[in-house]
């Protein structure tokens, strides 16, 4: 991330959205809206004086999956690039009501600019790479799992923030109901994925990340017990099978084959899982201290609109349609795609696809510079 931030050939347009792309291979024009941050990016050094004094405090932090609150002026995350503050116009008192202005008063560098407007940039480009990624499925409609109704049922990405040393709890697995450490954690696989009602495909990364999460839980707390309820493990990849075995043998993770039918809770907010163990063909229940839902991953919100303006074909799930022999080429010549927007992929796969797409795009640029058809 740091490398790309200081690369002389890369111009980072964060907090920006592509509004239109016209033209053809080797000769596109893109319209990009650079949203107003109300902070001068050139001057701000992210010192944090404005954040310390901002009176609007209780805004759920999207980066922390709402497990922590942020203020109206905020740094998206501490190592973020560009490292500049952003003012949220929906909550800032000055931008909404014209009162306050504290951040401007405390900013010694004079970086706060309430008059800043969205900027429209017209970029002359030769090729486009789509890397719009994923959004995680919201499991609230699956009422039997009780997400948002039961306090100690969280999603995989929320768990990632809890176990993260820079996260809202400093890396401790403090469960939401009482802040106590959760020692007994259950992970439920295929939440929304491989489900005809929601995402009729396998998200491919959840089996592995659930094992990883359980391993990390054990590393943080040697007394922890983990239970992974899986449909069947789909650990397809280099070293993945070994990882699954390591999880069982070295970390003592309990793998249970069976889908959980329902989750209830006791008076101390401990979730109780009701499930069928398909290996013993018995209906059982298990009381744990916290449940992690391995939610499906789906194409990022808004990626369908973006594809539409570029005339890029999507499949029935909203992933970019590609084919052989060039798996990163879309139906539009000169537009390429990589990463999760192509279909479920883990990090190494996304990186490999990104390099492939970059090479295909470079081919277009070099050939059109030489006056040849790509």
């Amino acid at each position: 991330m740091l490398d790309v931030g200081r690369h002389p050939n890369v111009d980072i347009l964060a907090y920006s959205e592509v509004e239109n792309v016209t033209g053809e291979i080797g000769n596109f024009t893109a319209t990009v809206r650079k949203k107003a941050r109300y902070v001068n990016e050139e001057i701000c050094n992210a010192c944090g004086d404005c954040v310390a004094k901002c009176p609007t405090r209780k805004i759920p932090d999207a980066f922390e999956m709402g497990l922590k609150n942020r203020r109206a002026v905020y740094l998206y995350f501490s190592q973020g690039i560009p490292a500049v503050m952003t003012i949220d116009p929906e909550h800032c008192l000055y931008l909404k009501k014209g009162k306050c202005g504290v951040c401007k008063k405390v900013c010694v560098k004079g970086a706060i600019d309430y008059e800043q407007k969205d900027e429209i940039l017209e970029l002359e480009i030769g090729s486009v790479i789509l890397a719009t990624g994923l959004d995680v499925f919201d499991p609230t409609p699956l009422t039997y799992y009780g997400y948002k109704r039961l306090k100690n049922v969280i999603t995989g990405i929320e768990y990632e923030r809890l176990i993260n040393a820079t996260g809202p709890t400093g890396g401790h697995l403090n469960r939401p109901s009482d802040g106590e450490l959760a020692h007994k954690v259950a992970y439920i696989q295929c939440v929304g994925s491989r489900d005809f009602n929601y995402c009729n495909y396998c998200s491919s990364v959840c089996c592995m990340y659930a094992i990883k999460d359980a391993m990390l839980g054990r590393e943080h707390d040697a007394d922890s017990d983990s239970y992974i309820f899986h449909t069947d493990f789909r650990n397809v990849g280099k070293w993945f099978q070994k990882y699954e075995i390591r999880g069982k043998e070295e970390y003592g993770i309990n793998y249970i084959r069976g889908r959980v039918a329902e989750i209830s809770e006791d008076e101390n907010f401990n979730p109780i899982l009701w499930y069928e163990d398909t290996e013993t063909r018995e209906v059982k229940s298990l009381k744990v201290e916290m449940v992690v839902l391995s939610t499906a991953a789906m194409p990022a919100k808004g990626s369908d609109q973006l594809a539409k303006i570029m005339y890029v074909d999507l499949d029935e799930h909203g992933f970019v349609e590609t084919g052989l022999p060039f798996p990163t080429d879309t139906n539009v010549p000169g537009i390429f795609a990589c990463g999760f927007c192509l279909g479920p992929a883990d990090i190494p796969e996304s990186v490999a696809q990104a390099s492939a797409a970059a090479n295909r795009a470079a081919e277009v640029i070099f050939l059109s510079a030489a006056g040849k058809q790509a």
Binding site: Y15, E17, V32, I81, E124, G126, A131, E160, A362, I365
Partner: protein
């Protein structure tokens, strides 16, 4: 020589931008969130090596 537009500043977009930049091509990396990094920036460790994330 024309530039390339990369839409999405997650790990895939970052890698594509770096590769193109290294080839001497100018890249515009567009991200809708206030900073780049994407989902991977939210992760602590990654499988199968349990190495630290970006």
């Amino acid at each position: 020589m024309k530039d390339v537009l990369v839409i999405g500043g997650g790990i895939a977009g970052i890698q594509a931008a770096l590769d193109l930049g290294d080839m001497g091509i100018k890249v515009h990396l567009v991200e809708r969130k206030p900073s780049i990094g994407g989902i991977m920036a939210q992760l602590d460790k990654t499988f199968p090596t349990n190495d630290c994330s970006i």
